[in-house]
Every structure is written in structure tokens, then in C-alpha cells.
């Protein structure tokens, strides 16, 4: 039975469905139990599944991730919640040195079927360090899968797929979209592939690549430019950042000859560089314009009075697209 759910409800539904389905699934993190998570992504789950399966941990991210490694080594499938992406910093050692490498350093003897979920991104008027977008750090770490849903349907289906994968998945949830709107979400278990981009709109003049909270921004910009200038765009939701869906990306650029990448992470060293490099390496001849990046600025995400100006918005995407499309 499908239901109208927002993204955070869809995530809770995915966790619920897998807790019911697989006794090895375990949720742990700060405030995920009694409180149901600071965003309510685990609302009601401890009551339903008990203190051993939905666990309030001490306030220690290295502890959460490191003990999840041990749980996964010994037969569990932990889903760790990190309260905000930047609070993964104290646990990055465990992510980089162990989560990502356990399978390869034990030559397949041990695998780590674990998911690290975390809200990320700006736009919610959070205090310092509640708004970071650091997907490129994880994409640069072999052994990790990295995915970002942009709507409730994908969120549930991708999270279920992530919980069923035998590799560790960084599951990044765009906080700004948590309650941005509802969508019909099937009940029970279903999967959305973890390695496929989705072409949301088809067009001929330009390819716009985005993920997470930038997807609706890109869509709005494309729509506006269609109305204002008559241009049509491929709008591609990458969804999977590791691996990138190369085929979909290249196919689109080969068609349109123009690429604009939109992300809210800082520009320099952001994943836009990787996408641009992929295109510049494999589809250079199709390019009819510079590859444009419309991104967050190279400054710490600022306090919320000016946070909106940090984030790429419809106008900035339009400027980038216009530059690409009108390039001679």
C-alpha cells in the first residue's frame, strides 16, 4: 500500500521495513532511540524493536562507527546515524582506515555490510557545522559506496538497497529535502538501484547534473529557461556518487554538447571537478562550450543570515546554463 510520505518519513519507513525483515539489522547513534532521532528518522522504532536493536549510544562518533565495524564483522548489519555530517569528523579515522578497507585488507574474509546515514547540506538555518556537503571526501575513498537521494521514493528504495548491500554505504540525506514535500511511496520492501543516475527531464540544449537538494533547484532553473528562452535541458539526478553512472552522463553530454554541474559543496575539490574531468577525458569532442560548475563558494558555510547566498539557487544555475548555451 503506497502512502504519501516526506523524505524523513520514507527513511523511517525503510528502516522499519528492514528491521522487520532482517534480524541482523541494528540501528545505533545519538538520540536515535527514545527520542526517535533529532529529525525523527527513527521515530517509534525503539519502542517497536527494543533497546537492543535501536540503540542510544554514548556521544562519540568514532565509538559509533568503530563499534559498528565490530558489529558488522560479527554478523550484524548496523545502520549508524551520525547526527549531522560534520559530526562525522571525529569518526573519519574509522571510516577512512577501517570501514572502507576491511574487505580488501582481509582479502574478502570479512565484509562490512553497514550503512552510515547522515543528514547533510545547508538551507535549514542550522548553527555552525550543521550545513556541510562533503561527499567528495567519501567518493575519494576506495571501498565506500556513496549515494544521495533527492526525493522520498528514492530515499526509501535506495536505503533498503543500501541495507541489503554487503559493502559499506555512505547514505547522505539532504536535510533541506527532509520535509520539502510528499510523494507516493510504496509500502514494504522495494529497491532503487544504487548505481544509476536518473534523467528527470530530457532536452537538447544542455545537460544539467545535480544531486540531493540541488536537484529541485536545477529543475526549476531548467523550467524557467525553457519558459524564458525556449531552451530544453537534460536534468540528471546523479543519485549515485560512487560509482558515477558514467554512461548516463556521457550519453547526455554527447547529445547536448554542453554540461553544467550543480552542487552545493565548495567548488574547489568538489565532485563537480570529477564529473567535469570525466567529460573532458571521454567526451571532449562533443563539447561545444566550457563545462560550467555552479557550486557553493570556497568559504566555510556561513551563518544562516547569509546562508541562502552561499547556496546555488535558480538564478545562479540560470547564469551558468546561459553561459554554456550562449557560448560561441
Amino acid at each position: 500500500m503506497a502512502e504519501e510520505l516526506n523524505m524523513v518519513q520514507a527513511i523511517a519507513a525503510a528502516l522499519d521495513a528492514k528491521l522487520a525483515d532482517d534480524a541482523r539489522i541494528m540501528i545505533l547513534g545519538e538520540d536515535v532511540g527514545v527520542n526517535g532521532g533529532v529529525f525523527r528518522a527513527t521515530d517509534g522504532l525503539q519502542k517497536k524493536y527494543g533497546q537492543n536493536r535501536v540503540v542510544d549510544t554514548p556521544l562519540a562518533e568514532s565509538g559509533i562507527i568503530g563499534s559498528s565495524v565490530g558489529l558488522a564483522l560479527n554478523g550484524f548489519r548496523p545502520v549508524a546515524e551520525i547526527q549531522f555530517l560534520a559530526f562525522m569528523f571525529p569518526g573519519l579515522e574509522q571510516v577512512f582506515a577501517h570501514v572502507a578497507r576491511m574487505r580488501s585488507r582481509t582479502r574478502g574474509r570479512f565484509q562490512l555490510p553497514m550503512v552510515i546515514r547522515t543528514p547533510y547540506g545547508a538551507g535549514i538555518r542550522g548553527p555552525e557545522l550543521h550545513s556541510e556537503s562533503l561527499e567528495s571526501l567519501f567518493v575519494h575513498t576506495p571501498g565506500l559506496r556513496v549515494v544521495v537521494p533527492s526525493n522520498p521514493y528514492d530515499a526509501k528504495g535506495m536505503l533498503i538497497a543500501a541495507m541489503e548491500l554487503d559493502d559499506p554505504v555512505m547514505f547522505l540525506e539532504p536535510t533541506r529535502l527532509y520535509r520539502a514535500g510528499k510523494r507516493s511511496v510504496p509500502g514494504g520492501l522495494y529497491r532503487v538501484p544504487l548505481d544509476e543516475a536518473e534523467v528527470l527531464h530530457e532536452g537538447d540544449d544542455v545537460s544539467i547534473f545535480a544531486w540531493g537538494a540541488m536537484v529541485p533547484v536545477a529543475e526549476r532553473a531548467a523550467l524557467a529557461l525553457h519558459e524564458e528562452r525556449g531552451w530544453t535541458a537534460d536534468v540528471v539526478d546523479l543519485r549515485s556518487l560512487m560509482p558515477l553512472d558514467r554512461e548516463t552522463i556521457l550519453r547526455s553530454v554527447e547529445k547536448t554538447g554542453r554540461a553544467v554541474i550543480v552542487h552545493e559543496a565548495h567548488k574547489t575539490g568538489g565532485l563537480g571537478g570529477e564529473v567535469a574531468a570525466l567529460i573532458a577525458e571521454e567526451a571532449i569532442d562533443c563539447l561545444r562550450a566550457p563545462i560550467m560548475r555552479v557550486t557553493g563558494y570556497d568559504v566555510p558555510v556561513p551563518s544562516f543570515a547569509v546562508e541562502d547566498a552561499y547556496l546555488p539557487d535558480e538564478d545562479r544555475v540560470k547564469v551558468g546554463v546561459t553561459e554554456a548555451v550562449t557560448y560561441e
Binding site: D56, P58, E61, P90, R125, V294, D298, V299, S303, A305
Partner: protein, 370 residues
């Protein structure tokens, strides 16, 4: 094979769990009765100063919650219930001492001299809310839990290396004691014997998680011994006890006696932040007036002063009025400052503006793309 209890009986080398909890240092009882020998260490002016400041910061706290509800400020972290701990500790410092607060330590910050206007601007999400007066050694609230303990350690180290008698004090909660940085900071402070005071407000909760799930140890103060450090467990609702305890730890630090871990046992009356719903994890309803009075550091100190005849209802009235005027004026001042300009986010990223930042700033100012 040898049984565990046999082994420990035979050799005595197992350290069994201690059943006795560290005693709680207290000067003033909830009913206002006080330890006279301790009171002797305080002047009436000191006591009044502590009281006045507690009342002042509570007004700030309540006003901030109201402003948040009116949409004039962002998410706010209230400290009501913790005034005695924060004011008592901060007043035991010299102005030149360094203060490292968290988001919940506005009372300590204001007591040490952080201007009200800046406080408001901070919670309004304005960039100038991060300004620090040039002559004040205080940092803005540290958001990532426990990470600032190490900064207090480094600052104290620098002071010691230069032979200064400046002390640094770091504020943090019970939840913070679970982070690795808590351990590394106390270990460094112990090894280098630094003039730093680790001031933990154990308010019983880290958001929704009660202290018993944070740590198997019964108290935080006893963890000091793992670093060969002194530990104090003090009634955090007793501003005078906190003041005396911190004063003595600070003096010890100035005298080269090294670090101290202080656990101030207290509680927050309200929500974790204005975005939090405490009824989800505790019986907030049972925390009624009577419950609060029993614990409230302000009520307690007022009782003492009234009993001693060094305070009156009219003084109370005047204090409330003058504070409320002060707060009104400060908020008006804060609200009158223009909104931060987007281009300000490019300031101070580096000492000089690098080329890409310059271009991005210019792009922003021209309404262009990144």
C-alpha cells in the same frame, strides 16, 4: 582454573567498582541555610554580585526563547537551571583568563564580558554575532562537542610556557565526556601539568540520553584520577559553592598546581534547544514549580540573602526592571544593525583574499555564478 573472585581475594589486585560516590560540595541548602564556615570566605558584595548576574542572565535566556518563538532569532539553546554553575564559575575568573564555552554557556560568556548585543546577533545568525571584543579572551560557542577542550589546553600551555599566570577554563556537558577529545585533552593537561580548569556541567542529559547511558562511572569527577588530576564534584545549583570551588582550582592553576576537573551537578529546566521536545524523553510535567524551586540556584540564593537581611523585595524589583531595560535596549541595538551582507562570507577565510575567492565574491556581487 582460578575463579575471578578467588584471584582477586588472593591478590587484591582487582579494582572493584567503588560503591561510594564522590561527595558533593555544597555551601547553601535549597532552603537557604548555609555552611557558615564557608560563607566566611565570601563578602556580601560577592554574594550579591553572583545573585544579580544569575538573575540578569536568566532574563536574557527567557527573552531569547521568546524572540525565537517570534521568529526573530534562530534555534536557541536555553540554559535555565544552569545559571548558578555558569555564573559562579565565570565570576571566579580574572578578565584576562580565557573562556571556552559551548552553545549552552551563554551565561558564562556574558558573565565574562561578552556584550549582550553580540549575543543576540549570534543567535540571529548574523555574521557579526561572531565578533569578539579585542580585549576579551573568549571564543564563541563551540558546536562540535568536546573539541574545544584541547584549545583550552593549548592556550594554557602557551601561558605556562611564557610564565604568565593566566588560566583557561573550558565549559562542556556530561555528554562531552564520552568523546575521545575529552580524554586527549585531560591527558595532555595532566602530562604537561597545565593551568586549565575543565568545567563540566552534568545536567543529566545529552539531548535525550541520560547520563547513566553515557558512562558506566557514577560520577564525572572521579575520572580525574585517570589523569592524576584533582577532581571536584560540586552542587551546580549552588552558585557560592561553584564560585569557591572554581576559585580554588583557578588559584591552584595560577600557582603552578596544574589542572582540575570540576563536575557541577545541575539540570536544565527546559528543552535541549528550541527545536527539541523534551517530553519525548523525560517527564517534563513533573518538573513543576516545586521541583524547580528545590533545585533552582536563584531561589536558593535569594532565600539565603533574605534570611541574612542583605536583600529585599524592592531590590529584587529594581534588579528585574533594570535588567529588562538593559535587555530591551541591547536587543533594539542588535535589531538595528543591518543584516549581514552576503559578501562578508568571503572575509577572513585567509589573511589575504586568494584569487578564486576574489572572483567568487565578485561573481556573487554581480549576481553571477560561482
Amino acid at each position: 582454573m582460578i575463579a575471578e573472585n578467588e584471584l582477586s581475594q588472593l591478590t587484591g589486585f582487582f579494582r572493584h567498582r567503588e560503591n561510594d560516590v564522590l561527595p558533593l560540595f555544597r555551601v547553601v541548602q535549597p532552603d537557604g541555610k548555609a555552611e557558615e564556615s564557608m560563607l566566611a570566605h565570601l563578602t556580601v558584595e560577592q554574594i550579591q554580585k553572583i545573585y544579580r548576574q544569575m538573575v540578569r542572565v536568566r532574563q536574557f535566556d527567557r527573552k531569547s526563547i521568546a524572540l525565537q518563538r517570534q521568529g526573530k532569532m534562530g534555534t536557541y539553546a536555553p540554559f535555565e537551571g544552569q545559571e548558578a554553575a555558569q555564573v559562579g564559575s565565570a565570576l571566579a575568573l580574572r578578565r584576562s583568563d580565557w573562556v571556552f564555552p559551548t552553545y549552552r554557556d551563554g551565561a558564562a560568556s556574558m558573565t565574562h564580558g561578552m556584550p549582550l548585543k553580540t549575543m543576540f546577533r549570534y543567535w540571529m545568525g548574523q555574521l557579526d554575532g561572531f565578533d569578539v571584543p579585542d580585549d576579551l579572551n573568549i571564543l564563541h560557542p563551540c558546536v562540535p562537542i568536546a573539541t574545544h577542550l584541547l584549545h583550552a589546553v593549548g592556550v594554557a600551555w602557551a601561558a605556562k610556557l611564557r610564565g604568565e599566570d593566566t588560566v583557561s577554563i573550558c565549559y562542556f556537558g556530561d555528554g562531552a565526556t564520552s568523546e575521545g577529545d575529552f580524554h586527549e585533552a585531560l591527558n595532555f593537561a595532566g602530562v604537561f601539568h597545565l593551568p586549565v580548569v575543565f568545567f563540566c556541567q552534568n545536567n543529566g542529559f545529552a539531548i535525550s540520553v541520560p547520563f547513566q547511558r553515557q558512562s558506566a562511572s557514577r560520577t564525572i569527577a572521579e575520572r580525574a584520577s585517570a589523569y592524576a588530576m584533582d577532581g571536584i564534584r560540586v552542587d551546580g545549583n549552588d552558585g557560592l559553592a561553584v564560585y569557591l570551588a572554581v576559585q580554588s582550582a583557578v588559584q591552584k592553576a595560577r600557582d603552578g598546581g596544574g589542572p582540575t576537573l570540576i563536575e557541577a551537578v545541575t539540570q536544565r529546566f527546559g528543552a535541549h534547544t528550541t527545536a527539541d521536545d523534551p517530553t519525548r524523553y523525560r517527564d517534563q510535567a513533573s518538573m513543576d514549580e516545586a521541583w524547580r524551586d528545590e533545585r533552582d540556584g536563584i531561589v536558593r540564593l535569594r532565600r539565603l540573602m533574605l534570611q541574612k537581611g542583605v536583600w529585599s523585595d524592592s531590590e529584587e524589583q529594581r534588579l528585574l526592571e533594570s535588567t529588562s531595560e538593559e535587555l530591551l535596549a541591547a536587543f533594539d541595538e542588535a535589531a538595528a544593525v543591518p543584516m549581514s551582507q552576503p559578501a562578508e562570507m568571503f572575509h577572513h577565510v585567509y589573511g589575504q583574499e586568494l584569487w578564486h575567492l576574489k572572483e567568487q565574491r565578485q561573481g556573487l556581487q554581480a549576481g553571477g555564478e560561482a
